[in-house]
């Protein structure tokens, strides 16, 4: 039952995890809170699965669960990006700050 799809998915998973480790390791602890809110917003890409689930409307359960899932994920996308940007806007260096 090990399909080529599965194998390529595993490759993607492993490579993405490595990229994730390498990229995120470099994020300064200064920005760990925005990092968490940003990855949380990106994680809400799960909305694409929810959109297809609700849109295909294969059953009432799928429609209801899919719709609620879209609401939950969209609120994370919108809220997550807004608050990350608000936080990052606040970080100023003393060189740029002093008039």
């Amino acid at each position: 039952m090990v399909t080529p799809d599965l194998i390529s998915s595993l490759y993607v998973f492993i490579l993405a995890a490595f990229i994730g480790f390498e990229v995120i390791r470099r994020v300064s602890p200064l920005l760990h809170t925005p990092l968490m809110s940003l990855t949380n917003a990106l994680d809400a890409i799960a909305v694409v699965g929810a959109i297809i689930l609700a849109g295909e409307r294969k059953s009432n359960l799928a429609l209801i669960f899919g719709t609620i899932a879209i609401v939950a994920a969209t609120s994370n996308i919108v809220g997550g990006f807004i608050i990350t940007d608000r936080m990052l806007k606040m970080f100023k260096s003393s060189r740029t700050q002093k008039p």
């Binding site: 390529s8 390791r25 300064s28 849109g55 994370n76 919108v78 990052l88």
Partner: protein, 463 residues
């Protein structure tokens, strides 16, 4: 004419690239905001691509849900900075809710024709998702102080928790062997949901940074598992990025608290709280008034301010900024020493101080601050306790022995703003308060800092 499926895949591939760039740009405050824009662009592209999918027969509910989600999201994006930890916990719950609902619907659509592999990852998806939903809601409730913050522990707690998790895994295995047993499925999700609650019950406030990071990691992993179920590479990438991020933060946090990672993984937090509370013999302490504190501070060349959760609770960050301004104006070199677990989530203190317009190059990581501590005239501790406790270095009997701390006791003078002598949340006595070079400043953090600022600006001949 390019087929729509290729076009959709193209949007997904571009989205993946943008997501990775988004995190890469976050590595420096100078480029960080580009990261947000890249993330937004990738997200928008992927959603538009998905909406082109030919299998979608009904757009009405999708549109309603997108609008509703945006309406809920805007206020969640505009909470006060002090409320960011609970907002983050809540968003982990929402993310996990999405993943769990989709996984559940997929199960009922596909059963009994689910391959063993898909059933395995689907089980992983909903178990991790389920425990993240309730766990994060509990964490958010504790952070918002809607739930009692005291950790609740009982004998055999780990046994009960691990037992529940084991039952959920056994059910998952049964479903993998025969996915037609739909009656078992609700039990698996139900146990995961209850486990999430049980997992957070023994967690106290000081453990929150680790827990939030861990829940972040779980939310990411469950999304990656969902990617396997739906065969969506985009989801696998986004989920593993989030999972990796949460994992790195959890490891950082557990190192900063000197806990082994397995200790954290199995949710065995909070056992520290039960030990050595109230070894209360009255030892002499020296205290000082705002006037005396102001005089010592203005005579200093180098001041290190160490903030903790108490600063957030007292909303004192703006007053701290005034203190920073007043001292800087007098030529005093002021830096901030940030312990990785200060506050209630990773990076919490940095965000609050940045909100108060303190330049980020004055915010030093623990090791950098410690290397300057011996040359520091005054270390001012505001609302921090355990992260400054020298017993972590010197007393092998202390529950926090071995935890890396900010060595404020090595500064010439230590001043600690504290409400009273009662031990902190963890109930661990802090020998720092009885040192000869320590002055206790009793009072509310915000008011006390305000009094110092008034002394400094008033005595200095005004503005």
């Amino acid at each position: 004419m390019i087929p729509a499926t290729h076009l959709i895949e193209a949007t997904y591939i571009i989205a993946v690239v943008l997501f990775i760039l988004s995190l890469k740009w976050l590595s420096s405050p100078a480029t960080a905001r580009h990261g947000v824009w890249a993330g937004e662009a990738g997200m928008l592209l992927a959603i538009i691509g998905t909406l082109m999918y030919h299998g979608i027969v009904d757009y009405k509910w999708i549109a309603i849900a997108l609008v509703l989600g945006a309406i809920i999201g805007v206020p969640l994006g505009n909470v006060q900075m002090t409320a960011v930890p609970q907002r983050t916990a809540l968003s982990h719950a929402f993310g996990a809710l999405c993943v769990t609902l989709v996984g559940t619907a997929e199960f009922y659509l596909r059963t009994p024709n689910v391959s063993a592999f898909v059933m395995s990852v689907l089980s992983l998806e909903v178990i991790l998702g389920g425990l993240t939903i309730t766990g994060s809601l509990m964490a958010a409730g504790k952070l918002q102080e809607w739930l009692p913050q005291r950790p609740i522990t009982y004998k055999g707690q780990n046994f009960v928790n691990l037992g529940m998790l084991a039952i959920a895994v056994v059910i998952a295995v049964m479903l993998v062997r025969n996915p037609g047993q739909t009656h078992l499925y609700p039990f698996m999700v139900g146990i995961a949901l209850v486990f999430g609650v049980m997992m957070i019950i023994p967690i106290g406030g000081a453990d929150m940074p680790t827990v939030i990071s861990l829940l972040n990691s779980y939310a990411g992993l469950s999304a990656a598992a969902m990617g396997f179920v739906l065969n969506s590479k985009l989801l696998i990438v986004a989920g593993s990025l989030d999972g990796a991020s949460g994992f790195i933060l959890s490891v950082n946090m557990s190192k900063a608290m000197n806990r082994s990672f397995t200790n954290v993984l199995f949710g065995a937090f909070g056992q520290v709280q039960t030990s050595t509370a109230g070894a209360g013999e009255a030892k002499p302490v020296r205290s000082a008034t705002p006037e005396e504190a102001a005089a010592i501070l203005s005579a200093a060349n180098k001041v290190a301010i160490v903030p903790g959760y108490g600063m957030a609770v007292a909303q004192a960050q703006h007053k701290v900024r005034e203190l920073y301004d007043a001292l800087t104006k007098r030529g005093v070199d002021v830096k901030f020493g940030i312990h990785p677990v200060a506050g209630r989530m990773p990076g919490h203190m940095n965000v609050l101080l940045a909100e108060a317009d303190i330049p980020y190059d004055k915010l030093l990581e623990m090791d950098d601050m410690n290397s300057e501590m011996a040359q520091t005239d005054v270390a001012l501790v505001i609302g921090a306790n355990d992260v400054t406790n020298p017993a972590a270095r010197t007393d092998p009997g202390s529950p926090i022995y071995g935890m890396p701390i900010l060595d404020v006791d090595k500064a010439r003078t230590v001043m600690v703003i504290k409400r009273s002598m009662s031990p902190g949340f963890a109930g661990i006595d802090n020998p720092l308060y009885y040192l000869d070079n320590t002055l206790m400043l009793f009072g509310d953090a915000k008011q006390f800092v305000n009094s110092i600022v008034r002394e400094l600006t008033g005595a200095g001949g005004g503005h």
